[in-house]
Symmetry: C2
Subunit: 291 residues, 2 copies
DNA sequence: TGATTTGCCTGACATTAGTCCGATAAATGG
DNA sequence: CCATTTATCGGACTAATGTCAGGCAAATCA
């Protein structure tokens, strides 16, 4: 049997070849790779030059020259950051947007071919890619507030409900309704809604909804399959509890189901205690935590 | 929900960053990437220079300069191929072997760290990597004869048996014994043993064992989980049947179990027909094919 | 306020990668 | 045998990348 290391290195070889091919295919638009990579990171609304430099790990001189060259091509425009006038902000021009669309097309094309090649196993392959990408991105996981009506939150909640239906049979008789668009329940100032991002994939969420002036309820803690086993749920709970403290709340409650054993173990391990039932089925466990 | 293409591109970004770090780690030993890549392909016993040039797709001038530079460093020695004195053969010197060991150490180190980082999910992550690597390597899958006593064949057969035990409960009462080392059953001239390779991972096997002068039995058709759904089993069967024809055989037999439905479907779709039972449990289907 | 730090820019320079061409020697094919 | 092809080599050249130092203006800190 090949050992783990050998398997990983085989993966590395295969992926290196693929990435190399992707890089050279970007060269097809008559622009050196360095400049192309910078262009990829300039957003239409504008991106901080230092951020680009940092993510690509470029020398400031080299970075500057890439910017000048893209500027000469008319693809980007730079302006000084009004907040800190040493810094510069680069944004895409209309021509730049068109050029980016062309790059995007190349990328989507290659990606679509690969998905097609996976044939009947494409679902499995994509899940495998999610798992690996989340692992590689692990140090870059960020938790940010989100709008409850945004597509990312909706997709997280949908995933949460779908899983609940699988794991808690009793939930099938209930009905889940997403809050009405614009409803204030999960929005500041009374509520909160957090999403954890791995690059551009939402991999977790948690929400807070007011019960009364000093009490709120934690709802919809969910972690994407690819991100489990990395302590993300704990981090989300920690963040939402900190938020609650900052909001001046004194007591948090939540309801859950005993079938969700990992979640329950997490709650019990982080200071949550049994409390009186305050909701009905499918919940069968009610917890509270004093802040 | 993010669409498939977006998920794949997130994967691409994540591994591109990782691969970039790998590239610079090669530079960590004070040698440009090009020369390092050439060095990786020089085997201690000697490698044909044209083969290296071909796999890396290098210009002959560039290749020549890499060789000179590695020679100046004392890592390789080149000699003319006695068979064709236009060609050259490069082989590692003792210093080269040590240098390669150092590169190997860097690679193993990085790999081990990543496996460790996956923590409780490392098994899953490695399976995901196998799946993706096999998909990316798909066009490079090769089927080659193998020695039945070799570790790769042993590992394939072990995997075959393990899976049989899971899928055919009746098999548990039987005992599986690997043929004795050196036994002639699966070796030419009477028998055959084939292994399918994806890079350095054995992803499939099939064997042929003589029954009498005109008849042989196909045994141990197995495909690695990561390589299923790509027609590899069909290709292995095709190859072994061609071999049997070349050996002058007129009839092939095999026994299997009805629980192995995909295999059975493949046999039935490729000209195999029911025949009289010639073995006992756990087999419950017996097929033959006239060549 | 003045010294120091930070972020960006430019010029000078080195290294690496990649291409093209001609030379050479060996093999191949009539 | 001679013409052609093949494999390698080295020189000339270009493009791209990477490195370093100095300059400048804005921000920060004591």
């Amino acid at each position: 049997m090949l050992d783990d290391i050998a398997r990983l290195r085989r993966f590395n070889r295969a992926v290196t070849r693929e990435v190399g091919a992707l890089d050279t295919s970007f060269l097809g638009r008559g622009r050196p790779l360095g400049a192309a990579r910078v262009l990829q990171l300039v957003r239409p609304e504008g991106t901080d030059v230092a951020v680009i430099r940092d993510t690509l790990d470029l020398d400031s001189g080299l970075m500057s020259r890439f910017l000048r060259s893209l500027e000469r091509e008319g693809l980007i425009a730079t302006a000084t950051d009004p907040g800190d006038r040493r810094r510069r902000i680069a944004r895409l021009t209309e021509a730049g947007r068109q050029e980016m669309a062309a790059y995007d097309h190349i990328g989507r094309d290659r990606a679509a071919r690969l998905v097609a090649r996976a044939g009947s196993r494409s679902t499995e392959v994509l899940a495998a890619m999610d798992l690996i990408a989340t692992l590689l991105n692990r140090d870059h996981l960020t938790v940010r507030p989100a709008d409850p009506d945004s597509p990312e939150v909706q997709s997280c909640w949908q995933a949460y409900f779908d899983e609940l239906l699988v794991r808690v049979p009793a939930a099938r008789s209930g009905t889940f309704t997403l809050p009405e668009p614009g409803a204030p329940a999960y929005r500041p100032p009374q509520g909160r809604c957090l999403v954890a991002w791995s690059d551009d994939l939402p991999v977790g969420c948690v929400a807070l909804r007011p019960l009364d002036t000093a009490t709120a309820e934690v709802k919809r803690l969910w972690v994407h399959d690819s991100a489990r086993g990395q302590g993300l749920a704990r981090r989300l709970m920690q963040t939402i509890e900190d938020e609650a403290r900052d909001m001046g709340l004194h007591l948090l409650k939540l309801d859950t189901n005993s079938a969700l054993s990992e979640a329950l173990a997490l709650y019990r391990a982080t200071g949550w205690h049994e409390t009186a039932p305050y909701t009905g089925a499918p919940a069968d466990v009610w917890l509270e935590k004093r802040l």
